[in-house]
């Protein structure tokens, strides 16, 4: 990350405070998908952090992906990642997204997400709990803030 001007800093700040998320199921059993959506509901309420679930990659900052990546969804995952503007972050939610999980040696499974796209944070669990998902997002944002401060100073 390079030193930024004031406008870029403002955009970056608002992005850090309100990341827009795209959720993609790369081949999951839906367990983790439900926990991602659960994060929106009153008990966990991710929207209080300004996080919004977006439908298209072009407006998203964070790709939240579940499932062991299958051979069919592999290319689509790559395309979604490529369509996201920089800076972008990728969360692998659930054991399957981290490594392929118990499906890793199945013939139609490519493996974890990092066989296809670079991953910023791995959230294990089967399914990953909403608290773990929130925790990862907050950690990601914090580390982003820290590294940007380091560059600015």
């Amino acid at each position: 990350m390079a030193k930024r001007n004031i406008i870029e800093k403002a955009i970056d700040w608002s992005r850090r405070k309100s990341p827009w998320i795209i959720h993609f199921n790369a081949g999951a059993c839906n367990g983790c998908d439900i926990e991602v959506v659960d994060a929106l509901t009153p008990r966990y309420d991710v929207e209080r952090f300004g996080m919004l679930l977006k439908g298209t990659p072009r407006h998203a900052d964070v790709l939240v992906c579940t499932g062991a990546v299958t051979l069919q969804t592999r290319d689509r995952l790559k395309r979604i990642y490529e369509q996201m503007p920089e800076p972008k972050f990728v969360l692998a939610v659930g054991t399957c997204a981290c490594s392929g999980g118990i499906f890793e040696d199945c013939y139609c499974v490519s493996g974890g997400m990092d066989t296809v796209v670079p991953v910023s944070a791995y959230i294990p669990g089967c399914a990953a709990r909403p608290e773990a998902i929130l925790d990862a997002v907050v950690k990601l944002l914090t580390s982003l803030e820290k590294s940007q401060k380091a560059i600015d100073n």
């Binding site: 795209i22 959720h23 993609f24 199921n25 790369a26 081949g27 999951a28 059993c29 839906n30 367990g31 983790c32 998908d33 439900i34 926990e35 959506v37 659960d38 509901t41 009153p42 008990r43 439908g55 298209t56 499932g67 062991a68 299958t70 069919q72 969804t73 689509r76 999980g101 118990i102 499906f103 040696d105 199945c106 013939y107 139609c108 499974v109 089967c126 399914a127 709990r129």
Partner: protein, 406 residues
């Protein structure tokens, strides 16, 4: 002037499904033709099961679907226990049934929330999912995990239920019952919901049978079939299930069936808890299952789940094939969409309760006249539906004041 609307549906089904598409032909705003196109999220589970032991397979089968994992796990074990000639202890049968009904509660509440969201009634979504959290807390208390509870093991269950757990289940069920009364009032009493959902996504009694639809979709058309009643498994020989049906044969009917099934599950849970027998929770199972084949059926929240298992006398199975309920319901989909409006498409699809995650997809609209292609995402389709109905005076979001402040 007709537009071809292609609606890709996201990976949401068990046993293998991935972004599938619908090709929808519109005349004006009405759907005049719909065809399900299939592209699937196939993982290769059946093959994987052929190189793992029976107990290893349990963990894969449980993860065929994260919403009804107990259904798949129980169906699988029922098949191998039958082939092994093993009868599980009665207490284990009761515990499996208790988990099964808890799963039905969480699944139906999940659906209620998703359906609410699809029609713009987000208050219902929030309330239903908040109630659902109470069920998940109980599931986690009993099994150790909110999702994929892992209570089952060959020969019975891994964990027992103690009196403290029982009290917590009762307390939760009391609360959910109170809340569900409001959902039933909404479903049965609110003209707005009836206006929004009535007559939408019709699938008649004859069509249900022809297309092989299962679960609440079938029961909403008066087809009174429920595996728990037709061939009772686990504790359902004693905890007799009242099969809930409706005659509307549309999305409204599917809503009615599900909210009433929540009540029936609550009644069954109370029965199961009141009559929980003492005793062991597990029986010894052989590692090698004698050669043979059978089919196990289970009433998952979405409908009949079918597992075929063939054993060959070793500790590795010969063949397994799973047909999860949503697979059965897709076949009637084209039919359900015909003669309804584009504005109804999203709720019709949601109303068969496909395993979630169908809402991240994009829609390509082919306008035959102009030759133009536009990309529509699911959220836009949903918003289109909400606006379309609002412009005609049907606004489910206004029902928010019918729900109590909780």
């Amino acid at each position: 002037m007709s537009k071809r609307v292609v609606i890709p549906i996201g990976p949401q089904h068990p046993a293998l499904k991935e972004p599938g598409s619908f090709i929808i032909t519109l005349e004006g705003e009405k759907v005049v033709g719909a065809q399900v196109e299939v592209g699937y999220n196939h993982r290769g589970i059946e093959k994987a099961c052929e190189s793992r032991t029976y107990i290893q397979n349990l963990y894969i089968i449980e993860r065929v679907c994260g919403i009804c994992s107990h259904a798949h796990s129980t169906a699988y074990l029922q098949a191998i226990e039958e082939l092994a000639g093993v009868a599980i202890p009665r207490r284990a049968a009761y515990i499996r049934s208790i988990m099964g009904e808890l799963e039905r509660l969480h699944s139906h509440l999940l659906w209620l929330g998703v359906a609410g969201h699809e029609i713009g009634f987000d208050t219902l979504f929030m309330y239903a999912w908040r109630d659902r959290e109470l069920v998940l807390d109980v599931l986690a208390m009993l099994g150790g995990n909110r999702v994929n509870y892992g209570i089952n093991t060959p020969g019975g269950v891994r964990r027992d239920i103690d009196p403290e757990h029982i009290q917590k289940i009762r307390d939760m069920v009391d609360i959910v019952e109170e809340r569900n009364k409001y959902y039933i009032n909404l479903a049965l009493g609110e003209t707005t919901l009836h206006a929004r959902l009535g007559g939408v996504g019709r699938l008649s009694h004859e069509e249900v049978i022809k297309f092989g639809a299962v679960g609440p979709v079938a029961r909403a058309a008066g087809v009174a079939f429920d595996v728990r009643q037709a061939e009772p498994y686990a504790a359902y020989d004693e905890a007799q299930v009242k099969v809930i049906t409706d005659d509307h044969a549309d999305v409204f009917g599917r809503t009615v069936v599900r909210v009433l099934e929540i009540m029936e599950s609550i009644r069954l849970l109370r029965f199961l808890l009141d009559n929980l027998p003492e005793g062991e929770i597990i029986t010894k199972m052989p590692r090698r299952i004698p050669a043979g084949e059978t089919v196990s059926r289970y009433e998952a929240p979405r409908g009949e789940d079918v597992h075929y298992v063939c054993a060959n006398g070793t500790d590795i199975l010969e063949r397994i094939r799973v047909r999860a309920p949503t697979e059965a319901n897709w076949h009637g989909m084209s039919h359900m969409l015909e003669n309804d409006y584009l504005a109804d498409v999203s709720i019709i699809i949601a109303a068969i309760d496909p395993c979630y995650s169908c809402t991240d997809r994009s829609i390509v609209i082919d306008n035959r006249d102009s030759g133009q292609q536009t990309i529509f995402d699911w959220k836009q389709l949903r918003q289109y539906s909400i606006d379309w109905y609002r412009n005609r005076g049907v606004d489910p979001a206004k029902l928010a004041n019918r729900l109590p402040r909780l």
